[in-house]
Subunit: 432 residues, 2 copies
């Protein structure tokens, strides 16, 4: 009676779709353009530049709106535009994606918008951050490539997602985090029972260790989602772009604001928009991409302000730990995406971040983690400085959940009153 | 350019559906059967018994599987079976519902199941508990009934949900909680900026105060979701039954395990299953309903063990605060649902609850709050005692998120090792 083996999530409309083969054609160096066959490679053999997935434009162009709309209500509806997961029976389906796009009229009013303002709320994913997207794609690719263990270097959200997905599909996991992470994120990872290694150092130290380990014999069968299968992993973020376009009724917004850690996610949203235009799923539009960082770790925003392409690594500080990558791998590409679309970047300090969390929650009912506070506060700052146009339709990305970083705001908000359980108590508190 | 006014969530397939009119025909006393017209009434004028929604069987029977499947990917796809929200333009759409039904093979193996075991994971709702369901329906009904403010007595999750929904749709809110609630739940409610009143007393004291307040002139325009609009509110839980049936491919599971606080949710799952059979959307099946409580607050399970219909109120203790209702309004109806289907009830202590959270997380990747730990631990206990049959297909309900009650497990789980950021450190820790 019981179907043994692979654990599935029951989603309605788990249609097989028409994506018989992957549209990916190979790995392409983002530096020198050299191409390589698909596999577990992340750096160019020619110039050591980072690789990304290249696609066969004809295979991408076969994907129609109808195909997508007939697919599952998850990020896998876009399988025809992704490098892995074309077989619905072997992809990792955790119900990730298709998170709400929330109309933020009260926030729009507060900030003086005359055009619609939306929040794409990725705290609705299974482990409550956008990392479930990249992990869904990375872990699916890793299994297709024959890896037996999954690993990552993480500032917290990725750790949560890797550990949860690994145990659900019965794969071993080993997760590396900085030892000073928020305790909530440590507990939420450790609870899943995989191997969790706290590393005395910054995220950049953790990342370096993972790069070294990925070269050892002992880790030959281990896929580090953001190291040796990073080209697949990173493509998962494209779905943040696809979904916004589909949820707006197959059109692009005029402005988007995204937080930046490595800078990867922002570049992939831009890539997604360009792909949708090139294959004819949406009309072309002069959209602008804006990047948000915390002042405690703003190497990309600093390079933007300085008008340079060179991102100078920093030692991160501040409460937005999920964004604390001091040596951002995709910094130059994020700068290019923002500059080429006519957007801008800004950074905000811890006090502004806290206020940003509160502003977003009070006006939209979305309780964001510190990264969402960064994005909201940067939106406000960019409007005030005139760099972001409040008469253009805008989408901001909330990438994580406020419950993960409660300490950031727990002293800012308190009950209105504490009373005895009586009508008299209500009157004494001025509530009646 | 900007459409002012009501804030909507962009959901794909927000089809209008064919539910032009409500299937609700009136309010029915669950004690004496007296009927009343639909309105903001919750107690019988004849016998003071609790009222629930009565439906016109013909109107319910008009709903087809195709109607539902063509609806939005949220609980509103079942609008044809609910007492409010028939107009897609005025219903409160927060993307609640259609949460994952997760195949739990590893948990099944651990507990000796030979039949499929599933977890219905309601932590995937917007504020990460099943309360978003009842609030979606209650706040929609409250607005249709002309109320201008929304209120509740809450053990935490309901407070989160009411405050978030209220601010999103621009309605005032006043939320009452026991002053000893977990700080995470206080912060997650206070962050939305509505009025939050901490009451020195138990949930039952808070509830009593709300009942008194709902009779005052000052609260005439205030809908207490679980007091004066409770009949509407409670119906939202039916969607937990509908979704499981649809996600299983339009059939009922043979056994379900649900946590009990007031007992309402469990009775509504049973009501949903019965309705689906009566209108022909699923085949009849001898399913069994099981109820789970914490030993610190087990008045319903105690009455079950004692073979009585009389639920004796208790003073709640223990870590499962979201279930700590000592005087459960729907206790007798929960007893009837369990007994009439041949199910059983059990309760588990705090240590078992913590182990239950960990067991569920390790085997399924679902991190539950204490209530989910109660349900998982009770599942284990009922299998071990022979009261729940592991050869019958079973669904357990996880009603809330582990991030809300982190303290319950934070000392149980720790990193595997803490190391310096070197290969040597990995070797010293025995990880290489």
């Amino acid at each position: 009676m019981r179907r043994k083996g692979f654990i599935v999530t029951a989603l309605i409309n788990r249609a097989a779709g028409t994506f018989g083969e992957s549209p990916a054609s190979g790995l392409v160096c983002r530096n020198c353009g050299a191409t390589f066959p698909l596999g577990a490679q992340h750096a160019c053999f020619e110039c050591f530049g980072p690789l990304e997935i290249g696609y066969d434009p004809e295979r991408l162009a076969r994907v129609t709106r109808a195909d997508i709309e007939a697919g599952p209500y998850s990020l896998w509806r876009y399988a025809g535009l992704l490098p892995a997961g074309h077989n619905p029976l072997t992809r990792v389906e955790s119900g990730t994606g298709m998170t709400p796009l929330i109309r933020a009229d009260k926030l729009a009013d507060r900030l003086g918008f005359t055009a619609p303002l939306w929040v794409k709320d990725d705290s609705a994913n299974p482990t409550h951050s956008f990392k479930d997207r990249v992990v869904s794609v990375a872990i699916t690719a890793a299994r297709e490539l024959g890896f037996t263990r999954i690993a990552c270097a993480s500032t917290g959200n990725l750790a949560n997602s890797v550990a949860a997905h690994a145990t659900r599909i019965g794969m071993d996991s080993i997760v590396f985090i900085p030892s000073d992470l928020e305790s909530a994120k440590v507990t939420q990872t450790a609870i899943y029972g995989g191997t969790l290694v706290a590393v005395e150092g910054s995220y950049d130290d953790v990342n370096r260790l993972c790069s070294e380990l990925s070269e050892t014999d002992e880790f030959e069968s281990t896929a580090f989602v953001n190291v040796n299968v990073r080209p697949y992993y990173a493509e998962g973020s494209k779905t943040l772009g696809y979904e916004v376009a589909e949820q707006l009724g197959w059109r692009l917004p005029q402005q988007v604001v995204a937080p930046m850690a490595s800078g990867s996610m922002l570049t992939k949203v831009n890539k997604a928009f360009k792909e949708l235009v090139s294959i004819g799923l949406v009309d072309a539009l002069d959209y602008r991409v804006y990047g948000a960082q915390s002042s405690g770790c703003s190497p990309i925003a600093q390079a933007f302000a300085d008008g340079t392409d060179t991102v100078i690594p920093v030692k991160p500080t501040g409460i937005a730990k999920s964004l604390n990558i001091g040596n951002p791998a995709d910094g130059p590409y994020a700068l290019d995406a923002v500059r080429s679309t006519g957007g801008a970047m800004a950074h905000v300090d811890d006090e502004e971040i806290r206020a940003g969390i509160q502003l977003l929650a009070e006006t939209t009912g979305v309780f964001a983690e510190t990264a969402g506070g960064v994005t909201t506060a940067v939106l406000k700052k960019l409007v005030e400085s005139g760099q972001l146009d409040p008469s253009r339709e805008t989408v901001i990305y909330n990438t994580g959940d406020g419950l993960k970083t409660l300490d950031a705001v727990s002293d800012r908000v308190q009950p209105t009153a504490t009373i005895p359980p009586t009508i008299k108590g209500m009157r004494a508190a001025g509530l009646l």
